[in-house]
């Protein structure tokens, strides 16, 4: 299966007054898996359907290996697609479903049978070839759908939230399976999801969309650690919003500390919300009766609070702290330190000295 590059160039699509895509640009390198991530209505599924040929853009281009496919019908695009809803043909067995595209291409019956068996084996459900869709579980059906999409040796694989209808355990299993198969075959893949965990764990790059536009497209680690915009920062991962004040154009004061500002910088003196990840916040225990300490540490209501909940997550424990100013904050601590903070314990926030993003409330 030879990998192909995919390019979406300045795609625009509107439905009446609603602008579903607003100049979307995205390029996938051959063999790359890119996840389109965004909230409902951000245009990610519209983009995928335009790539598949099920919809036409108002303007813009879809190119595969440089060839313009924008006006080519879906039947002639050589793309494989796995849908969100179970899309197997109910009147055909698993093997017949997989062989459907091969039959259309007039592949000999014996070869169809062999290839279907190979693909069902590849997706981990050999032995179920004679089952009809209604005799398969949701996870098995999506595996057959994946095998069917791959059977025609597509240039590009399109995945439209293929895991969203599955239960959590099966979703995790199939997530790994899809990634394994994609890497084995080296097929260029565009994967639409609204589940950030799926996107971050599976994709080479994640493209975050908002209102039909691309906010940021980067490797998962970059997206998480260095979000380009406040929207990306808030959408990807858990984010705390702490009250702060701009000291000057470079620094913001939050929880009694001064931190460098990344990205957009409001004017000095502006009250802002400072975005901090749970792992960028440390806690220090305080005496139950008094917030005062011997050092010069801050004692403002935005820096001190009461521990509400400790959620054990393995190597870390997520502490939920209600600050005295009414803000709820989540902080990740190494689990061996969690015992320092029993429920109702008083604690002081210590933001890590890293650049932070700020937004005006």
């Amino acid at each position: 299966m030879s990998a192909a590059g995919l390019e979406l160039k300045d795609l625009n699509r509107s439905y009446g007054p609603v602008q579903a895509l607003d100049g979307l640009d995205l390029t996938l390198a051959p063999g790359e898996l890119v996840a389109l991530l965004g909230p409902s209505g951000c245009g990610k599924t519209t983009a995928l359907r335009i790539v598949a040929g099920f919809e036409r853009p108002d303007s813009g281009k879809v190119r595969v290996d440089g060839a313009d496919l924008t006006q080519v019908s879906a039947a002639k695009r050589d793309m494989g697609m796995v849908f969100q809803s179970y899309s197997l043909f109910p009147h055909l067995t698993a093997a017949e479903n997989v062989a459907f595209g091969l039959r259309l291409r007039k592949v000999a019956a014996a070869e169809r049978k062999t290839r279907a068996a190979e693909l069902l084996d590849l997706v981990g459900i050999s032995g179920l070839d004679a089952r009809y869709p209604h005799q398969l579980s949701g996870g098995q059906q999506q595996r057959v759908a994946l095998a069917r999409a791959l059977a025609v040796r597509p240039k590009v694989l399109l995945l439209d939230e293929p895991l969203s209808a599955l239960d959590a355990k099966v979703r995790l299993q199939l997530r790994d399976e899809i990634r394994r198969v994609q890497l084995d075959l080296g097929i260029t893949t565009l994967f639409v999801t609204h589940d950030q965990e799926e996107a971050l764990s599976m994709a080479d790059r994640v493209a975050v969309m908002r209102d039909g536009r691309l906010e940021q497209c980067a490797a998962p680690a970059v997206l998480y650690e260095r979000p380009a915009t406040a929207f990306v920062a808030e959408f990807v991962g858990t984010m705390n919003h702490l009250q702060g004040t701009m000291i000057d154009s470079e620094l913001v004061e939050v929880a009694g500390r001064r931190l460098p500002v990344d990205g957009e910088r409001p004017t000095p003196g502006t009250k802002v919300k400072v975005l901090l990840r749970p792992e960028a916040i440390d806690l220090e225990p305080l005496a139950q009766t008094s917030a005062s300490t011997t050092d010069s540490a801050p004692t403002s209501p935005s820096a001190i609070g009461t521990v509400r909940i400790a959620t054990f997550l393995g190597s870390i424990t997520r502490m939920t702290v209600m600050l005295d100013d009414g803000t709820e904050v989540k902080a990740d601590l190494p689990s061996h330190r969690a015992s320092e903070f029993p429920a109702a314990a008083r604690a002081r926030l210590i933001p890590a000295p890293r650049p932070v993003l700020v937004v005006e409330p």
Partner: protein
């Protein structure tokens, strides 16, 4: 325990009573008809002669043959018109669905007599102009051996039932996804229709076909007014002369309808059985 058994006993008794009443109501007339056709009260003996005479009765086979082909033509016409239209509505024009449904229900409120009166008027348009295309069309439509006008009318009459059957079939599957899946795999539209949509509409199509067959075999008013002699008209006309023969014919046609229904159920159930066998 005794109370429970007593309650069960009462339930069973009522079940038997209700089933008996229903059986008497439904099967009583049939049994009476059968008795009437096989028992000669003057000679006090049983005979299957009326059933033997059926096949040699003048016009019987011709009327059955004509009705059968009328039914087939109606079914074909119905599906050719309705299937593509309903698929298009389901996939592309869902807003039109209530309008089409309303139109499809109109035959339920138009009496066959009124419909036939309108058709007769239209058929009369070409009579004054012999040799014209309209005259020839009228003649073809009213050909006594195979009156094409009847399937055209029957297709309208059966529209509410066929629409409901197909609509239920279409709603039972995720048509949009199936079509897109097959298109994405490279299937052109005719193959999408033939290999994906129609196999999944089989139950709806069979239901529509059976209802159409039943309607055409039982339709009397329109055919009679337009002076054609399909099966239902033949039964009435022949009944003027002989007592047992038309009753025997009616019973036979009922058996034929049951046989068709059984066949449809059998064909529909065979796949399910095959599926179960394969999975075992």
């Amino acid at each position: 325990m005794a109370g429970l058994l007593g309650r069960l006993g009462r339930v069973r008794w009522w079940r038997v009573a209700i089933l008996t009443l229903v059986a008497v109501y439904l099967l009583g007339p049939l049994f009476s008809a059968l008795w009437f056709t096989v028992y000669n009260s003057r000679l006090h003996q049983f005979s299957l002669a009326p059933y033997g005479q059926l096949f040699s009765a003048p016009g019987f086979l011709a009327s059955v043959r004509m009705t059968f082909f009328l039914a087939l033509t109606t079914i074909a016409l119905e599906f050719v018109l309705l299937v593509p239209a309903m698929i298009a509505i389901q996939l592309r024009l869902p807003r039109l669905r209530p309008i089409v449904e309303s139109i499809a229900m109109v035959p339920l409120v138009v009496s066959p007599v009124a419909l036939t009166a309108g058709v007769s008027t239209v058929l009369g348009w070409g009579l004054n102009d012999q040799g014209s295309w309209l005259f020839r069309l009228d003649a073809d439509l009213q050909n006594q051996s195979f009156p094409l006008i009847l399937p055209l009318i029957y297709a309208i009459l059966v529209l509410p039932f066929a629409f409901r059957s197909l609509d239920a079939g279409l709603r039972a599957v995720d048509l949009k996804t199936l079509v897109e899946a097959s298109r994405g795999l490279g299937a052109p539209w005719p193959l999408v229709l033939w290999r994906v949509i129609l196999p999944n509409l089989r139950t709806g199509l069979l239901s529509g076909a059976v209802l159409t067959l039943a309607l055409v075999f039982g339709e009397y008013t329109i055919a009679s007014i337009l002076t054609f002699v399909p099966f239902a008209v033949w039964i009435v006309q022949d009944g003027q002369g002989s007592g047992q023969l038309p009753i025997a014919t009616s019973l036979l046609s009922l058996l034929l309808s049951w046989a068709v229904l059984f066949l449809v159920s059998f064909l529909g159930g065979r796949r399910a059985a095959a599926v179960t066998d394969r999975s075992a």
